[in-house]
């Protein structure tokens, strides 16, 4: 009896908390389906005069949304591919090849773990200017790769170290080259870890706002986080339109999360959480 009461209390609390957590998202969704007038007079009522799809239609037929979408895809793909390629190569060297200076090199790389992009944004901006990469997607992609590398290398190295050495010996005896071992044996075995690293990079680069804000002056090159800020300043108080844009950005984020949840959790916790 006491147990079931406790259980009921626990559930009530959790359900209430979930409502509080989802309240803001629900407000955005409801707001996006109504006119701004309705939104303001009753922040979370249902649409009374029919659902206002125009909010979405106007955004989806416009060129700028899809252009920003494309830019986001380019930046995200570039960062993710480069990060996974470079970090797996580095992690291979740091975990399976012993050479002089390895510890030192790894320590230098680890300093990068302590430097978030925000701290270094000004010096990066100066460096990007010196390299003539202002207004180039590479000016966004390469620094994001550099700042993502240390974390990815640490995750992958932990995984590579645990792959038994006998496997490597066997591969070399069978005539495998170093690159062959890396490409055909190590990487396929490390697929879960590689996916986790890739997924975290996708989230980070898809959401990045600060760096493109500084590096890309040309609105045609702007990714979605800059696109929505521009849209927001353009439409000012037309909240329902802005919420429609917000919802359009939330949908892919939630879908991506649902598909990759296992890997996100693996990546964040170093592979510890199951179920």
């Amino acid at each position: 009896m006491r147990r079931s009461l406790q259980g009921a209390l626990k559930y009530t609390f959790l359900v209430l908390l979930c409502i509080v957590m989802m309240g803001p998202v629900a407000t955005a969704v409801l707001g996006s389906l109504r006119t701004t007038g309705e939104f303001l007079s009753k922040p979370f009522g249902l649409p009374e005069h029919g659902i206002r799809w125009e909010n979405y239609q106007d955004i989806l037929v416009g060129r700028s949304f899809w252009n920003s979408f494309k830019n986001s895809v380019v930046i995200t793909a570039g960062v993710t591919v480069l990060n996974v390629a470079l970090s797996s190569m580095l992690a291979f060297v740091f975990s399976r090849v012993s050479f002089r200076g390895r510890g030192l090199l790894f320590n230098i790389l680890s300093v990068g773990l302590l430097v978030p992009l925000v701290v270094a944004i000004l010096p990066i901006f100066i460096q990007i200017r010196q390299l003539n990469l202002i207004n180039s997607v590479f000016g966004v992609i390469l620094p994001l790769v550099a700042f993502g590398l240390p974390g990815s290398v640490v995750i992958l190295r932990g995984f590579f170290i645990n792959i038994p050495g006998e496997l490597e010996d066997a591969a070399y005896i069978d005539g495998c080259t170093t690159f062959g071992f890396f490409r055909h044996i190590l990487l396929p075995l490390a697929r879960p870890a590689l996916t986790a690293v890739a997924v975290l990079q996708v989230i980070a680069s898809w959401n990045e706002y600060f760096l493109p804000l500084l590096v890309l002056n040309d609105p045609d090159l702007w990714p979605l986080p800059l696109g929505i800020m521009q849209f927001q300043s353009q439409y000012g108080t037309d909240y329902s339109r802005i919420m429609a844009y917000v919802v359009l950005l939330i949908i892919p984020a939630v879908l991506f999360y649902l598909v990759t949840e296992k890997y996100i959790v693996t990546g964040l916790t170093g592979g510890e959480l199951k179920g």
């Binding site: 230098i108 990068g112 010096p123």
Partner: protein, 320 residues
Amino acid sequence: MSGYRFRILPTPYEQAARAKQRSQLSKALTVTLFALPGMMVFTLFLLIPIIQSSYISLYRWDGFGPLTEFVGLGNYDRLLNHSVFQASVSHSFLIMLLSLAVQLPMALGLALLVGRGNLRGKGLFRTVLFVPYVFSEVITALIWRYVLYPQSDGMVNTVLGTFIPGFEAIEWLADRNLVLYSLFAVLTWKYFGFYMILYMAGLQNVPKDLEDAARVDGATEPQVLRQITLPLLGSTIRLTVFLSVLGSFQQFVLAWVLTNEGGPANASQLIATYLYKFGIQQWWLGYGSAVAVVLFGITLLFSLGYQRIIMRQDYAISRD
């Protein structure tokens, strides 16, 4: 149809010897080929900029032309005496303290509630509590700007007005004394799920039989938590404290968009937003570099100091 081809194959022993020799010869090449591209990107876009900024911070520089106007530590002097910067530092510290005092215990409590036992709907609860973590900071800030809408028709004010008789709408983001707490509430909404996930992972390494044994021996639930669960969760807790402190000092985009550039009147300026507002927007790049160096210094000092404390604590625990 191909015919049979015969050739003398080397014995496995010979092959191994050759492979070893080859690996010795090509080791340098391997290291170079595998490590060079990554280290180059890392050096060009992370290492050099950071080193450069400490140098630039000694100059007055508007970003154009060569560095000529050497001011020594003048930028630092100005910075440390700027009341807005002092306020920004204290705001960042407040956010940090609140995160440690509120976000982490809350995340731990929920991890214990959701992560232990066979709670039905566990996966759903975890998803709902964690999903804001994947939203971009810009989206989060825009949603909350409307949720905290100052007039009585904002969501938060409406809800409070429904439950509290005679409630008057609060200007969550326009009130100088409230804005930091509003910002903190939004940060909590977005980030506590991340810590909850880390705690849930840590809890899986706490053996259940140990807790059960204590209960059989007559320990109360709070005793089990204090004496067994928390100490065994020690390394996770120390990690989350570390991440939470660093995270607090790194807040930028969410605060910038939510509070409209650190307003009202710099009441919610954090170190990173200060850097952007006064270093980059004004094109005082030498000055901004000094802010970056100070921010990096705080981060580095904390990290190194904390690592030492972690070591000492781990040692104390293993001795117990």
